[in-house]
Amino acid sequence: MSRATKAGAIRAILVFALLLALPFVFTDHWIVNIAFFGLMFAVLAVAWNLIGGYAGYIWLGSIAFFGLGAYALAITFQHVPLTSGYLPFFALIPIGIAIGIVSIPLALLLLRVRAATFAVVSLAVLFVAEIFAFNLDGLTGGPQGLGMALPPFVVTTFERPFYLAMLVLLAAVMFCSWYLAKSKFGLMLFAIKGDEDRARGLGVRTTTVKVIAFALCCGFTGMAGGLWAYYITWIYPQFAMDPNTMFAIILMTYLGGKGTLWGPVLGAFLLAPAKEYFAYTLGGSAFYLIAYAALFLLVMFFLPRGVVPTVADFLARHRRRAAVLASGPRPAGEQVA
């Protein structure tokens, strides 16, 4: 194991240990609740980053799969008795796999176009999903929403199982993201982002690569949606497939640093609590939208590359300068690029 990998592994273990300890240290309902949403957005952002960050596709339909997962779980447990409170957690696994498989034909259709056209048709996916959720009321309950059986967990630590389940999901999606980035596969995605035609010319099977990233993104997003549905127990189409949530995920990814491993997680942890806080204090009102828009523009203009790459650059420069100082005057002819 190289030094960098070892440092990365230690960092990951440290972060996950802290996150694991959190609900046992802070037992207030509101803290664990906000932390749950932080984790949920981290999962969503890391999953979106697979296609949006690594491959550079602005994928605006991701939240439709969140809703799909939510409805899949809710509808399943309308027919299956909730014999154990933990049953839905395990049900998420087949649901995630099924959604991933279902997304493949869609990916083959959508990935025929790129850039802005892709963004538009992916937004169309979101709108279509929303129309179905509203109109298929025999299945989804339509605008009245769809309820699930209440999770039979003790009230004092009600949020804890959901939190831990989401943490497991985060670990899984992070592992996929890390594995993809370090493998040959990640290199291919970066090549697609740089110049897709050239990548194809060099023999990268661009479609296969993109479809795999797409299916993973949809599968994990769907699982997060299912868990969310179980947690809040009553889902409405406009919340299960909210365009604002979609753009929030993208904003988090950009804020943290798109195309990086930890960027989306950091962005989610920074913004999700702020989102919950403002939604609570400003009540989803007009002020909330204005604050959100202002924050969005600030990130786009002042931190377009995101926190993680900016800080990494700063540290690298700092380290290089320290190394230069330590080694004394540089021999003539050597240039720092």
């Binding site: 009102s285 002020f287 828009a293 202002a294 969005f296 523009l297 786009m300």
Partner: protein
Amino acid sequence: MHLLIYGCILGILLGGVYGLMASGLALVWGIMRVLNIAQAVCVILGSYLAFTAFTVLHVDPMLAVLPISVVMFVFGVGIYYAFLRPIRRDRESLSILVTYAIAIGIEGALGLIYTTSLQHTGTSYATQSFEVGGFQIPTVELYAFLISVAILGLLALMLQRTRLGRALRAATQNPTAARLLGVDIDRVSAVGFGIGISTAAAAGAVYGMIYSFNPNSHYDLIGILLAIVVLGGFGSMRGAIVAALILGVIASVVFIYWPLWANLSFFGVVVVVLLFRPQGLWGVPNWATQ
């Protein structure tokens, strides 16, 4: 059969208004490769301005179209210089996110001023209709269609016959060559964006006479406008107008038989386009794939 023809008539009337909204979107895309997600919220903003002019100043929305267009042109130019010009890198993707933020910012501001309850510009002729060959044509939809067609005609004339129009087209087709001939791309982009926003608002002024709206309405509308642009081919104004008429007719007919699914017809068409002709009706093939 009667119902079907009636649906087509209403569809064409509505399609003309959508055509005006979407042509600005296509124009802006053509000139600067910016996909303006805020186009629909500017339509709603136009509706509110006409609503205010009508309720407070008692000005008919059809007269208010002109001042609203002028004000919104300036607004559009301001937005271009403040938020779009600074995007130098990766403009195509970033502009989607930036204009989305502008859209929700305007939505929030409208919510502050007008609250989120539904409004409607209820002119005296809003409920009137007249009969042609057995079809009841709502007066206001006909007026809205005629105004939209008139504005589109002026726009086309400007693009074809004037120095500015030539510069706008030149910048769309070959920006480098246009620069070499002395066209200030920045200024032309600002003007183009201003025109895009002002046509959106003009369409909004008449739209508010036909439909009820609230600050939230732009989500549904932007889906429709984007579908039109995809079908017409990105950056083609002619394509946008034809696509708007086609989709207007399809949606109206679907509405008559299955009212809940009318909006789905827009996206259904997008999927079909994507399968058979990714560049849209008038698009240049490589625009869709690059």
